[in-house]
Each structure stands twice: as structure tokens, then as C-alpha cells.
């Protein structure tokens, strides 16, 4: 047992970063489940498509990255609404099976089409949160030694390699130093902070849309009781389409945020993310928006702290690293077995 608490904050930061991605993807699942008690199995693939839109606009067409992401989100919203209108609305929402089959079919179709168009190799994308803007102090400056040399790159032993100023090594140092802060001895990466900020902004926007707009009110009415909402004159079909559009936006957000960490985009990129997101959504209760966020973050933490830190570092068992995905799967199983309503869900879903 090697209780290496010094590196624990690193794992916590990483866990919460991954968790933020899972939270966004879990929200995409929950937004649809909340309104219709359906699980959209194609969530991950729709999100993957969104990430490819970002890739096409940004890398192939040379558009500004943020503009690309915004356009990709809008297009995904359109696709989500179109899928709902064309493939889901014709079916009775009380019958789950047809829609399960439809979303599974979509899963296969989107995956195959993406594989056909972009093939299955990983395509590098630009990182929206690669380096801090220049006004942020360099994270590695803390390590400038008295002789004017900069120590920033850790070599294999974990010791700091010193480089002279003005050399290529120093430039490298500068570049690496711009990607993180040092907080309580751990590296808080710009990517991590950026992911959190992006998720927070998206959540605020979602809260405003659901809380302050008429469409949001209609969505809440429909998810609370579809029949009553219809009776008081809410256009339920259009509202559900709106829900699918919102869900697709969150899916695309999660895929765009996670793509740089995966090394790029490829048609199978969201498979594992889907499992973590399902675990997060199940943990949060499948019909609770706040639960999805918390569930996603908790799944990220469990994966990083419990499996990677406790299993690999503390217990010294390298094979624990292969259990990350299995842990998420087990989590789904355990939650559905013993507490189908999750932490924050309503009980009614037990009987579904």
C-alpha cells in the first residue's frame, strides 16, 4: 500500500474534467429521457457527428474554432429536431420498443456513414483550450532557478530537466508552461479549467432556457405530464423536438470538449463516453437534470480516483487501469439493480 496523497489532486482534477464531459453527455440522455422516458441509444453517435462538423469547419474549411463549434451545435440541434420529427414522433411514446429499434438503427447508420465518409482513423483536431492566452502568467515560471535557467519538463525519473533560456528547449518549456497552473502541487490544466467553464456556461444557458422562456416552460410541462400539457394547449410534438435539439447541443458540446483529449475525432470516439454518460445518467436518476451533472462528475471521479489512483497507485495493481470501463458498467448494473431511481430520480421509472 502506497498512499501517495501528493499526486491525488492531479487525479481529482482529471476526474472532474472527464466528469464534466460525461455530465454534458449524460444531460443529452436525460433531456430526452425526462420528456419521453426513452433512452436515445444514438446519443453518442449524434454527438460524434457534431464533433466531425467541428473538424470539417475548423480544420478542413479553416473557420475560427469557436465559430465552428457554435455552427456545429446549431446544425446538431437541427439534426436532433429532425430525427425527432421524422423518426420518433410517428410512434406512440408509451411503446418503448419501436423507438429503441429506431435509435439503434440510427446508431448503426450514423456510425457506418461516418466510417464511410471519414474512415476509422483518428483525425487530429485543434484544442479549444490548448494554451492559456498570453496575459495569464506562465505556469512554469515558478520553477525558474536563480541561474536564469528554466526547469519545466519532467524527465522519466520525475526530476526536472533544466534548459537554458533562448533555446528550443526553453520554447518548449514556455509552451508546456502555458497549458497549466500549479495548484496545491498539482497541475491544473487549461483544458480542465476550460471544460469546467464551458460546462458551467452551458448549464447556465440551459437553466435560463428552461426557466425563463416559453419553450422551456412548455418543456417542463411536457416532461412533468405529457397528457395534461397537451390538454392545456402545449404543442407537445414541437416541444419534444425542442428537447431533442437541446440534447443534441449538449451531446455535441461533450464531443467537442473530449475530442482533443482523445487525440482527435473518429467514428468510434463516443462509444466509451456513452458508457460513462449512461453510468452518470443512471446514477443521477435518468430523469433529473441536476442528477445527470452530479452523476457525470461522480463517475469521472470514481474512474480517476477510485480506479486509477487507488487501484493503480495505492494498491500498485497495474491491471486496474483496464477496469475503468468495467467499473462504469458495474455502476450502471448496481444502480439499476438496487436503486433504479438513482440518487435524484423520481420513483416512477421503476415500473417502466
Amino acid at each position: 500500500m502506497n498512499w501517495n496523497f501528493e499526486i491525488l489532486p492531479d487525479f481529482i482534477f482529471n476526474g472532474l474534467r472527464d466528469g464534466a464531459v460525461y455530465a454534458a453527455a449524460a444531460l443529452a440522455l436525460v433531456l430526452i429521457f425526462k420528456a419521453t422516458t426513452l433512452i436515445n441509444f444514438a446519443t453518442g453517435e449524434l454527438a460524434m457527428l457534431g464533433a466531425f462538423f467541428v473538424y470539417v469547419l475548423n480544420i478542413e474549411q479553416g473557420l475560427w474554432l469557436w465559430l465552428s463549434i457554435a455552427i456545429a451545435m446549431l446544425v446538431s440541434a437541427g439534426i436532433g429536431a429532425a430525427v425527432e420529427r421524422a423518426l420518433v414522433r410517428p410512434f406512440d411514446p408509451a411503446d418503448h420498443l419501436p423507438v429503441v429499434l429506431i435509435t439503434l438503427g440510427l446508431f448503426l447508420i450514423i456510425n457506418a456513414v461516418a466510417g464511410d465518409v471519414w474512415n476509422y482513423q483518428v483525425r487530429r483536431v485543434n484544442d479549444p483550450f490548448g494554451q492559456f492566452p498570453s496575459w495569464v502568467p506562465n505556469g512554469s515560471e515558478l520553477k525558474t532557478s536563480s541561474e536564469g535557467t528554466i526547469a519545466c519538463l519532467e524527465n522519466a525519473d520525475g526530476a526536472l530537466a533544466e534548459v537554458a533560456p533562448g533555446t528550443a528547449g526553453a520554447d518548449m518549456c514556455e509552451m508546456v508552461g502555458r497549458t497549466f497552473f500549479e495548484v496545491i502541487g498539482a497541475r491544473l490544466h487549461y483544458r480542465t479549467i476550460g471544460t469546467w467553464i464551458a460546462l458551467a456556461l452551458a448549464l447556465i444557458a440551459l437553466a435560463i432556457i428552461l426557466g425563463k422562456t416559453k419553450a422551456g416552460l412548455a418543456f417542463r410541462a411536457v416532461s412533468s405530464n405529457t397528457e395534461s400539457a397537451r390538454l392545456v394547449g402545449v404543442n407537445t410534438g414541437r416541444t419534444l423536438g425542442f428537447g431533442w435539439a437541446l440534447a443534441s447541443v449538449f451531446g455535441t458540446l461533450s464531443a467537442a470538449l473530449v475530442a482533443p483529449a482523445l487525440g482527435g475525432v473518429n467514428p468510434n470516439m463516443m462509444l466509451t463516453i456513452l458508457i460513462y454518460a449512461l453510468a452518470g445518467a443512471a446514477l443521477g436518476g435518468l430523469d433529473s437534470l441536476g442528477g445527470a451533472v452530479i452523476g457525470g462528475l461522480v463517475v469521472g471521479l470514481i474512474k480517476s480516483v477510485l480506479v486509477s489512483w487507488f487501484g493503480v497507485v495505492v494498491l500498485g495493481q497495474a491491471y486496474f487501469s483496464i477496469l475503468q470501463l468495467a467499473t462504469a458498467f458495474l455502476l450502471i448494473l448496481i444502480v439499476l439493480l438496487f436503486r433504479p431511481a438513482g440518487l435524484f430520480g423520481t420513483r416512477r421509472i421503476e415500473r417502466v
Binding site: 419501436p98 429499434l101 439503434l104 438503427g105 457506418a112 466509451t272 449512461l278 462504469a328 439499476l336
Partner: protein
């Protein structure tokens, strides 16, 4: 309840194998919603017939058993085609012309195919025949057991790995190895069946899909069993006896015959299971588990054994697969394979043995058409699209969506039957 209380049209326990209506629910699955209601004869309705098949009067237990969906329509039977046309509800077991045509075509193909094929084609076609078992496995779990399984590719893989391990590392004879593959997959299936006791419907779909996705990365990391990233070659070969011939074609034919016999035996066994008490219990649990429990069905045993049987069929397919291609790798069993297996079972018709055969046949026809169209070149964007048709995944996705549109209520049989 004494025997004297039985209403006359109801069957006695034990003599109900060929009861008209015993398969009613299977066919009702395909009935459109607006069909005229069935006659009042209790046997005509789907759910009560299952209860009746168990040998109990449905209304006798004080449970309100809803009158089942109406009987099969012409469209429904047309979809079942060769498989189902013979078993229209309310009639004695008659074999319709479509079934005859299907059976004759199948027979001719089974005889003519090996005689006219090259060694490679023969092997490929044998693999297709073996595929029937995996689809049948999905069918047992989903069509007869009512437990949606999107993860049967996992059991195929487990069966293949276990058989490879048995024949190579344990140096068991082939017969035992193949059985070991099926048995091991069955054990894993029983384990997966345990959560299915509590997790139902869409949640079970979620769990089994999770299993399908988790399996591949996990199998990569267990090299002793799966051969790791690169897979494991199977050293042992199933060599035909010397009197059979020594050419490669003779070997292919030998494997073909063995697979055919095993598939036939497995189908016959499955048929017997379905027609006997465990099979009736299986369907009763699917239709209404509370009612089934009241009638004395052990829900735990029924669900777990259903899943075990269905998984071992898939495992058997995997084990036969390594006889044909002596190589097993996680690469061969991506999660998409599981979804395609499920789609094949749905396509052929859930809850019908021959439906699985039909499903595989449809799959083959479409993949042949796709291959042909995919080879056409020089059409620009249209050619791009045609190339997609060569992609099995794509074709199945489209078929799944299209089929759901044509029979929106038709596929409802598995869960929420009783939802009003």
C-alpha cells in the same frame, strides 16, 4: 381446482403441444392495431393462451388477464414468410404453400451449395449457417423470453475463446471443446441473466448494450484467454478421417456437414425446449410475469435458464466458428456485431424458430445485393452512396428503421405488452 371445472375448449396439461393458439402471442406480435377483435374464445387471445398452455384457466386466479392482441394478419404472416405461414392462429397445424417453397428452396440450397462452391465459398456459406445459432440465441432471449439482449455478440466471442482455450491449452478433443465453448457461454449468460430478474425493458437494453461495448476493450487486456490485441490462432485442426478424403474441398465439406448436423441438432433441441414446459413457462413469464408466478412458474429459474440457453446457443455458434476459421480475436466481435445480430433476429421474426433462419437469409440476400451494388464504380456521389450499401451495418440500420415504420406495433411483443 379439480379437473371437472375445466371449460371444455381448454387443453389439459400435457396434451397441449399442438394446441391451436399456443403460438398466438407469437403471431399477435405482428398484428396491426386496427384489426377486428378476435372472437371470444379464450384460446384465441395471446396472453391467455400462454396461461392456458401452462394448463391453468386464465381468469381463474382472480387476476385480470387482458384479452391479447388480435390474431395474425395477412401482413404478419407474409413477413414471417417461410417460417410462420403454416401456423395461422386458430387453425390446426397446416403447412402453407409459402413454407413449402421456403423449405424446398432451403433444401435445394443445402444440397446444391457445397457441390457448386469453391472451398472459400463453402467456408463462407458454412459460417452463414452457423450464424443461425447466434440469431436463434437472441431470439430465445428476446422473442421467447421477453428480455431484450443487445449483447449476444459477447456470448459468441466467449464461446469462441473458450473453445479455442479448451482445444489448444487443455488439449481436449474437438467435440468436448465445442461443448465447452457453448457451456461456458451459457454460464456467462446465466450471470447476465441474474440482473435481468430485476432490470427490465429499456433498462435491460441499456445494460446489455453496455456489456457489448465494454467487452471488446476488456477482452484486449486478457491475453491468456482472448489472445490480447492480436487475437489467438487455433493450433488444433479438425481433420476429416482419411476415408473421407484429404483435399481441401473434402475438408471444407466435412466441416460443412458437421456444422449442419450441429446446427440441426441445436435447432431440434431448442424446438423441444420451446414446446415443452420450460418453453411455455418462458413465454408465460414474458407475457405476464406476475400471472406466471401465480401459476407456479419459478421466475428466477425461468429467466436465468432462458438466458443461459440463449447464450449457449450463441456460444455454440462461436465455437463452430473457430472450427471453420482457426482464429479468434476480439477484433472479430465488435459491439456492432451484437446490434446486427439483434437486428437479424427482429428482421426474421421474433418468437419463431424459422424466423431466425429467415433473418439470416434476408441478411445474406441484402449483403449480396450490397456487394453487387458496391462494386459498381464511376457514378460519382451516387457511387459513394452505393458503396455504403456494401456496409452491413448501414444496411441493417436502414432495415431496422424501415421495419419499425412498417410494423410500428408489430414489434411490441417483448415488453409492455400489457400497457393500455
Amino acid at each position: 381446482m379439480s379437473d371437472d371445472n375445466w371449460p371444455t375448449p381448454l387443453p389439459r396439461p400435457g396434451d397441449d403441444d399442438e394446441t391451436p393458439g399456443a403460438d398466438a402471442s407469437v403471431f399477435a406480435v405482428f398484428a396491426p392495431p386496427d384489426d377486428p377483435p378476435p372472437s371470444d374464445e379464450p384460446l384465441e387471445s395471446g396472453e391467455s393462451s400462454e396461461a392456458a398452455a401452462l394448463g391453468v384457466e386464465p381468469s381463474g386466479a382472480g387476476l385480470s388477464v387482458r384479452s391479447g392482441p388480435p390474431a395474425a394478419s395477412g401482413v404478419g404472416t407474409a413477413v414471417l414468410g417461410a417460417g410462420g405461414a403454416d401456423r395461422v392462429v386458430g387453425s390446426r397445424r397446416r403447412i402453407g404453400p409459402l413454407s413449402w417453397i421456403g423449405a424446398v428452396l432451403l433444401g435445394v440450397w443445402l444440397v446444391a451449395m457445397p457441390l457448386t462452391s469453391s472451398v472459400t465459398e463453402l467456408r463462407q456459406n458454412t459460417q452463414i449457417i452457423v450464424m443461425v445459432l447466434a440469431v436463434l440465441g437472441v431470439n430465445i432471449a428476446t422473442g421467447y423470453g421477453g428480455m431484450i439482449s443487445l449483447g449476444h455478440g459477447v456470448f459468441v466471442a466467449v464461446g469462441a475463446f473458450a473453445a479455442a482455450y479448451a482445444v489448444d491449452d487443455l488439449a481436449l478433443p474437438w467435440v468436448l471443446s465445442i461443448l465447452a465453448g457453448a457451456a461456458f457461454a451459457g454460464v456467462i449468460g446465466a450471470l447476465v441473466g441474474l440482473p435481468a430478474l430485476r432490470i427490465k425493458g429499456i433498462h435491460l437494453a441499456l445494460v446489455t448494450l453496455g456489456l457489448a461495448i465494454v467487452f471488446q476493450p476488456l477482452a484486449k487486456r486478457v491475453p491468456a484467454f482472448s489472445g490480447g490485441v492480436s487475437g489467438r490462432a487455433v493450433g488444433a485442426e479438425l481433420v476429416p478421417p482419411s476415408w473421407f478424403g484429404t483435399s481441401r474441398w473434402a475438408e471444407g465439406l466435412y466441416h460443412y456437414l458437421i456444422c449442419l448436423v450441429v446446427v440441426g441438432l441445436a435447432m431440434w433441441l431448442t424446438h423441444n425446449i420451446i414446446k415443452s414446459r420450460p418453453g411455455r413457462a418462458m413465454r408465460a413469464v414474458r407475457d405476464n410475469d406476475t400471472a406466471a408466478a401465480v401459476y407456479g412458474v419459478n421466475l428466477v429459474a425461468s429467466r436465468v435458464s432462458t438466458f443461459a440457453v440463449s447464450a449457449s446457443l450463441a456460444g455454440l455458434a462461436g465455437a463452430l466458428g473457430i472450427v471453420l476459421v482457426p482464429f479468434a480475436s476480439q477484433e472479430s466481435y465488435p459491439f456492432q456485431e451484437s446490434l446486427v445480430l439483434y437486428a437479424t433476429a427482429v428482421l426474421g421474426g421474433l418468437g419463431s424458430l424459422w424466423g431466425s433462419v429467415l433473418g439470416v437469409a434476408i441478411r445474406e440476400v441484402f449483403s449480396r445485393i450490397g456487394e453487387l451494388l458496391g462494386d459498381v464504380s464511376g457514378l460519382g456521389p451516387l457511387g459513394e452512396f452505393l458503396r455504403l450499401l456494401d456496409e452491413e451495418q448501414f444496411v441493417f440500420g436502414v432495415l431496422l428503421v424501415a421495419l419499425t415504420f412498417v410494423f410500428p406495433r408489430g414489434l411490441i411483443g417483448m415488453f409492455n405488452r400489457r400497457k393500455t
